[in-house]
C-alpha cells in the first residue's frame, strides 16, 4: 500500500501543472498572516515557465498566486531580452502584464505564456501592479526562495522571528497547500512542539520536531509526508532521540469514488540508537470503507503483537517485552444514511455489525507472570478492566484486597445492532422577534451488542435540549442527557460487592452493593456563549451529574488527560456531581488567539474528604 501511495504521489508530482519560481534578492521577507512574499534589491526570478526576470523589487501574494517585479526590469527568454518598468504575472489566468520601456513606455499583455507575441496596448486590470501595504514585521527573512505555486515556499538562508528574536534555520519550508493531507500527523501530543520543515515539495514534506512532554522531557522527532490528491503516507519516529522509540506509518488511499482504505501501524522499540531492541511491540489498525448509494460498509481490524522479539526474549536480562499476547479485532459494520421518517420531524439511521475479538483483554493485564509482578510479586499488574470482565476468577488470588480475573475466553464473537433517532431544531413558540425563539432538540441512540461469552451490552443514550438566542452575540441552552450502560451476563458476571459487618468501605461503598454491571448517568447542563466581537468569546458550562453507582472520590479517578490537560472522555463512571467550566478566548496577535479555560469539579456534601478539584488550561491557537 505504501508503494502504491508513493507511486501515486510521484505521478501526481509529475503531472500537476504548477509553476516553480526561483527567487534571489538582497532581502526576502515573508508575512505569515497574509501569505505575502516581498523582496527588494537585485531581484532575480527564474520561472519554470521558461523566462527570467530581474528588477528592483518583488511582491507576491501566495494565495492569489500572482507576482510583480518592478523597477529596472529585464525580461529574458529564448526569444530575447526586453527592458521595462514592471511585470506582473497572474499565474492562474496565464496572463502576464508588462510595461516595457523602449523609446517610451508601453503596455503589453502576454497571453497563455506566449512571450513572442504580446497584445499591445491592452487595458490591464487596475491592480496588476499593486503593492500590498505592509504594516507588520516579517515572520521570516532569507536571501533565496523556491516557490511552488499554491503549494509551498522553501526559504534559503532563512531566519525565523519569534517575538522579535531571529532564529537561523538555513532551509525552511512553509506549506500553504489546500491539500489537507499535508497536515496529517502521526505524532503523539506534546506540551510544546517547535517544528522545522526542512524540505518540501508539492507532494512531500520533511519535518524535524523539537518537543517536550512530561514523560520523555525534551526530545527530537522526525516526520515525513508524502501526499497525492487521493492518498497519503506519513512516516515518523517519535521520540527519535530516546531509547523508547515509536515508529509510525499512517497510510491512506482512496480508490475511485466508493472505496477507501487506511491504516496506522506503530512499532515500539526499546533500543539505544538503532541497536538491537530490548523490547519491540507492534500494532496495526486497518479500516476499509465501501460506499453504496444509501449506505456504506466498514471493515475495521486491529492487530497487536506485544512482543516481536521472538521466543526466549522475555528471559534475557532486564526484559521489557512483557507478554506474548497478540490481541486481534475485526469488525464489519453496515450503516445506513440518515433518513427522514415519513413527514415527521424525525430522522433515523441504523447500523449492524459482526466481529470478533481474539485475546482482546490481554493476559498480560490479568495474570501476567507472578514472578514479574510489581512490588516483588506483591501486586498483579491490573485487576478488573472496567465494566466488562472477561472470564472468571483466577485460581490463585495474590491479594486479599483486589480480586483478579483470568481470561478464559480467548475469542469472543459479537453481533451489534443499533439505531439513532433525532429531531431537527423544532420551534417551540412563534414570537415576533427571532431573539425570543425557543428551539427544542432531541436525540436517542440505542445499541445492543451480543457476545459469545455469553453476555450482552446495552447502550442507551437520550439527549434533550432547549435553546434560545437572546441577541446576535448571546446563545444559551439547557440540556438533559441520560446514558445507560448495561453489561448483562447470562451466567456469572459481576459479583455482588458485599460490605463486611454491614459498613460501607472504600472498596464497597453504598450503591455498589447493588451494582450488577448496569450504570446510569444523568447529566443536566446549562450552557452560555457570548461573542460580542469576533475577537472575543466567553462560554460557560455548568453541569449536574446524578449517576449510579454514586461516585466516590478516589475510587474512580478522573480519566487520563490529553496533552492539553483536558479529560480524554466527556463522561466517565464516577464523575463529580457538579462541574462548571468557563472559557475565555480573545485575540492577542493578528494571527493568534489565547484560550483560557478553567473547570471546577464540586463533589458536594456527602464526601467531605474532598470537596472540589480544578483544571486549568491555557492554549494559544493560530487563527
Amino acid at each position: 500500500m505504501l508503494l502504491v501511495i508513493l507511486a501515486s504521489a510521484v505521478a501526481r508530482a509529475q503531472s500537476t501543472p504548477i509553476t516553480v519560481l526561483y527567487l534571489n534578492a538582497k532581502s526576502i521577507n515573508f508575512y505569515y498572516d497574509r501569505f505575502l512574499l516581498e523582496a527588494d534589491g537585485n531581484v532575480r526570478l527564474r520561472t519554470s515557465d521558461g523566462f527570467t526576470v530581474t528588477g528592483d523589487s518583488f511582491s507576491m501574494d501566495l494565495k492569489l498566486n500572482r507576482f510583480l517585479v518592478a523597477g529596472h526590469v529585464t525580461l529574458q527568454d529564448r526569444s530575447g531580452t526586453v527592458s521595462g518598468a514592471a511585470i506582473s504575472d497572474f499565474l492562474d489566468f496565464k496572463r502576464i502584464y508588462f510595461v516595457p520601456v523602449t523609446s517610451e513606455p508601453d503596455r503589453w499583455t502576454f497571453l497563455n505564456g506566449d512571450l513572442a507575441h504580446p497584445a499591445m496596448g491592452r487595458v490591464m486590470p487596475g491592480d496588476a501592479f499593486y503593492f500590498p501595504p505592509i504594516t507588520t514585521q516579517p515572520d521570516m527573512t532569507g536571501t533565496g526562495a523556491v516557490i511552488g505555486t499554491k503549494t509551498y515556499l522553501r526559504f534559503i538562508g532563512a531566519v525565523a522571528y519569534v517575538a522579535g528574536v531571529g532564529i537561523p534555520l538555513g532551509s525552511n519550508v512553509i506549506s500553504f497547500s489546500s491539500n489537507q493531507y499535508l497536515a496529517q500527523n502521526s505524532l503523539s501530543g506534546a506540551t510544546a512542539d517547535i517544528t522545522w520543515q526542512v524540505a518540501g515539495s508539492p507532494n512531500a514534506l520533511t519535518a524535524l520536531h523539537l518537543r517536550y512532554d512530561p514523560t520523555y522531557k525534551l526530545y527530537g522527532s522526525v516526520e515525513q509526508h508524502f501526499v497525492g490528491d487521493h492518498e497519503y503516507a506519513i512516516l515518523s519516529v517519535n521520540p527519535a532521540t530516546r531509547a523508547e522509540k515509536w515508529w509510525n506509518a499512517m497510510l491512506y488511499e482512496k480508490l475511485g469514488s466508493r472505496f477507501q482504505i487506511q491504516s496506522f501501524t506503530q512499532y515500539y522499540a526499546q533500543q539505544n540508537y538503532l541497536q538491537l531492541p530490548r523490547a519491540a511491540q507492534q500494532t496495526t489498525w486497518i479500516n476499509a470503507t465501501y460506499a453504496f448509494p444509501h449506505s456504506y460498509v466498514t471493515a475495521t481490524s486491529q492487530l497487536v503483537n506485544y512482543n516481536l522479539l521472538g521466543p526466549g526474549s522475555l528471559e534475557v536480562p532486564k526484559p521489557l517485552g512483557g507478554s506474548l499476547a497478540h490481541p486481534t479485532f475485526l469488525q464489519l459494520t453496515a450503516n445506513s444514511f440518515q433518513n427522514k421518517i415519513a413527514k415527521l420531524p424525525l430522522f433515523e439511521n441504523i447500523y449492524e455489525g459482526y466481529g470478533f475479538a481474539h485475546d482482546s483483554v490481554g493476559s498480560q493485564y490479568l495474570n501476567g507472570f507472578p514472578g514479574y509482578w510489581p512490588g516483588n510479586g506483591a501486586f498483579a499488574p491490573i485487576p478488573v478492566p472496567g465494566l466488562q470482565a472477561y472470564g472468571a476468577l483466577c485460581n490463585v488470588q495474590p491479594s486479599k484486597v483486589y480480586k483478579y480475573y483470568c481470561p478464559v475466553y480467548t475469542t469472543i464473537y459479537n453481533t451489534v445492532l443499533g439505531f439513532n433517532l433525532f429531531t431537527p431544531s423544532l420551534k417551540l413558540n412563534q414570537p415576533e422577534s427571532p431573539y425570543q425563539q425557543y428551539y427544542f432538540n432531541a436525540s436517542f441512540n440505542k445499541q445492543r451488542q451480543w457476545n459469545s461469552l455469553p453476555h450482552y451490552i446495552d447502550n442507551t443514550n437520550t439527549t434533550l435540549t432547549v435553546s434560545r438566542q437572546f441577541n446576535r452575540a448571546l446563545h444559551t441552552y439547557v440540556g438533559y442527557e441520560i446514558q445507560n450502560i448495561g453489561d448483562h451476563y447470562i451466567d456469572g458476571g459481576y459479583e455482588q460487592c458485599t460490605q463486611p459487618h454491614g459498613q460501607p468501605t472504600t472498596f464497597c461503598p453504598d450503591s455498589f452493593t447493588s451494582f450488577r454491571g448496569v450504570a446510569t448517568l444523568r447529566t443536566a447542563s446549562f450552557g452560555l456563549n457570548d461573542t460580542p466581537t469576533p475577537d472575543f468569546n466567553l462560554s460557560l458550562l455548568v453541569r449536574h451529574h446524578q449517576d449510579y453507582p454514586i461516585p466516590v472520590p478516589g475510587l474512580f479517578a478522573f480519566p487520563e488527560n490529553n496533552i492539553l490537560g483536558q479529560p480524554l472522555y466527556s463522561w466517565w463512571l464516577g464523575q463529580p456531581p457538579y462541574d462548571a467550566t468557563a472559557d475565555v478566548r480573545f485575540k492577542i496577535l493578528p494571527h493568534t488567539l489565547a484560550d483560557i479555560s478553567r473547570t471546577l469539579y464540586w463533589y458536594g456534601n456527602p464526601y467531605r474528604a474532598q470537596y472540589w478539584q480544578q483544571n486549568f488550561v491555557i492554549q494559544l491557537l493560530p487563527i
Binding site: G55, F90, V123, S188, L320, L421, P534, D535
Partner: protein, 305 residues
C-alpha cells in the same frame, strides 16, 4: 528697381493675410503663455519604478519627468536623501504639459491627494489603448476571479466581512464535545477555530475575513482522527467558501458523521497506544492509580505457565 505696387486691392490683400498670421501667432503665444502659467496638478500615489526619464505609478502609468525635476521630502518639504524607487510613496506635481516637475517622497503611505483620472491623459504609451476582452466581458472586473482561466463575474474589495459559521453536528456528538474548524488558512491545524455550542445539534462561530478570501475548511472535534466524514462513510474533500463583498455572511453546514464515531468500528487509535513501562495504561476505562506493569526488579526467569 521695381517701384512699390500701387495696387490698393493687392496691398490690402497682403496686409490681411499678414494680419491673420500675426493674429494666429499671437493667439498661440498667448495660449502658450496662459497654459504655462496655468495651475499645476498634484496627485499622490505609490511608485512602481523611476527610470529612463519616466516615473511609473502602481496604476501602471508612466509619466515623463522634467530634466530638472525637484525631489523633496513629502513630510518636511525640504531636501531628502530618498531616491525614487518601487514601493515608495510620492506626491507628484505635473505641469500643464503633463510632465512631472516635482516629486515629494515618503516611505509611508501619503494621504490621498488629487485624482489620477486628471493625469491619466498624460501617461505615455507607445501603443493605442485596446480593449481587453478579459475585462470587458465581465463588466470592468478589476481582477480575474479564481478557479481557472475564465474570470468570474465577481470582484472583491477586500473589505472585512463578518462570517458566521453554523454547523449541524451528528446526534451522536457528546454534549460536552468541542467542535473546531480546520482550514488551509491555518495550515489545517485541527484546533484552529474553536466553535461554540448553541444547542444540541448546532455550533457556531463568527470570524472576520477580508472579502475575496478563498477558504477551504473541514469540521473536526479537535483532532484529525475525529474529523468529519461524508455521509457515505468516506473521507470528504474540504469545503470551499469564498468570502463575498458583504457586511455579514452566514454559512450553514451539516456534518454527517465523525470519523471516530462510525458505529461499530474500532476507533482509530491515537499514537502511542501500546502499554510500555512508560505508557502503562493506554486503554480507556481502566481505573488509574493502580500499580502499572513494571519491569521486574530481579532477573528471575518466568515460571512455567
Amino acid at each position: 528697381m521695381m517701384p512699390p505696387s500701387t495696387n490698393p486691392s493687392t496691398k490690402f490683400t497682403l496686409s490681411a493675410v499678414e494680419g491673420l498670421r500675426m493674429t494666429t501667432v499671437l493667439a498661440l503665444v498667448l495660449a502658450a503663455v496662459l497654459l504655462a502659467a496655468g495651475p499645476s496638478i498634484v496627485v499622490t500615489g505609490q511608485l512602481l519604478a523611476y527610470q529612463d526619464g519616466f516615473v511609473f505609478f502602481t496604476t501602471g502609468d508612466g509619466f515623463r519627468v522634467a530634466p530638472g525635476v525637484v525631489i523633496h521630502d513629502a513630510k518636511t518639504g525640504g531636501p531628502t536623501k530618498l531616491a525614487p524607487a518601487p514601493r515608495m510613496w510620492a506626491r507628484a506635481t505635473f505641469d500643464a504639459t503633463g510632465t512631472v516637475t516635482e516629486l515629494d517622497l515618503s516611505r509611508a503611505a501619503l494621504p490621498p491627494e488629487g485624482n489620477f483620472d486628471d493625469v491619466t491623459r498624460f501617461a505615455v504609451a507607445a501603443s493605442s489603448p485596446a480593449p481587453n476582452p478579459d475585462l470587458l466581458a465581465y463588466q470592468n472586473l478589476a481582477t480575474p476571479g479564481p478557479g481557472g482561466g475564465a474570470p468570474t463575474s465577481v470582484s472583491y474589495s477586500g473589505k472585512p466581512v463578518l462570517v458566521t459559521f453554523i454547523v449541524q453536528v451528528p446526534p451522536t456528538t457528546p454534549l460536552t464535545a468541542s467542535v473546531y474548524i480546520s482550514t488551509d488558512q491555518s495550515a489545517w491545524n485541527a484546533q484552529a477555530i474553536p466553535m461554540d455550542r448553541i444547542d444540541a445539534l448546532h455550533y457556531s462561530i463568527t470570524r472576520r475575513y477580508p472579502s475575496g478570501t478563498i477558504f477551504h475548511y473541514l469540521y473536526d472535534r479537535g483532532s484529525l482522527q475525529s474529523e468529519e466524514i461524508a455521509q457515505n462513510g468516506l473521507s470528504r474533500a474540504p469545503r470551499n467558501f469564498v468570502v463575498p463583498d458583504a457586511d455579514v455572511r452566514t454559512v450553514s453546514d451539516t456534518v454527517s458523521a465523525w470519523q471516530d464515531q462510525v458505529p461499530g468500528s474500532i476507533n482509530q487509535q491515537q499514537p502511542q497506544i501500546m502499554p510500555t513501562p512508560y505508557n502503562p495504561a493506554p486503554f480507556p476505562n481502566l481505573p488509574p492509580g493502580l500499580p502499572p506493569p513494571e519491569p521486574p526488579q530481579s532477573h528471575k526467569p518466568p515460571p512455567a505457565r
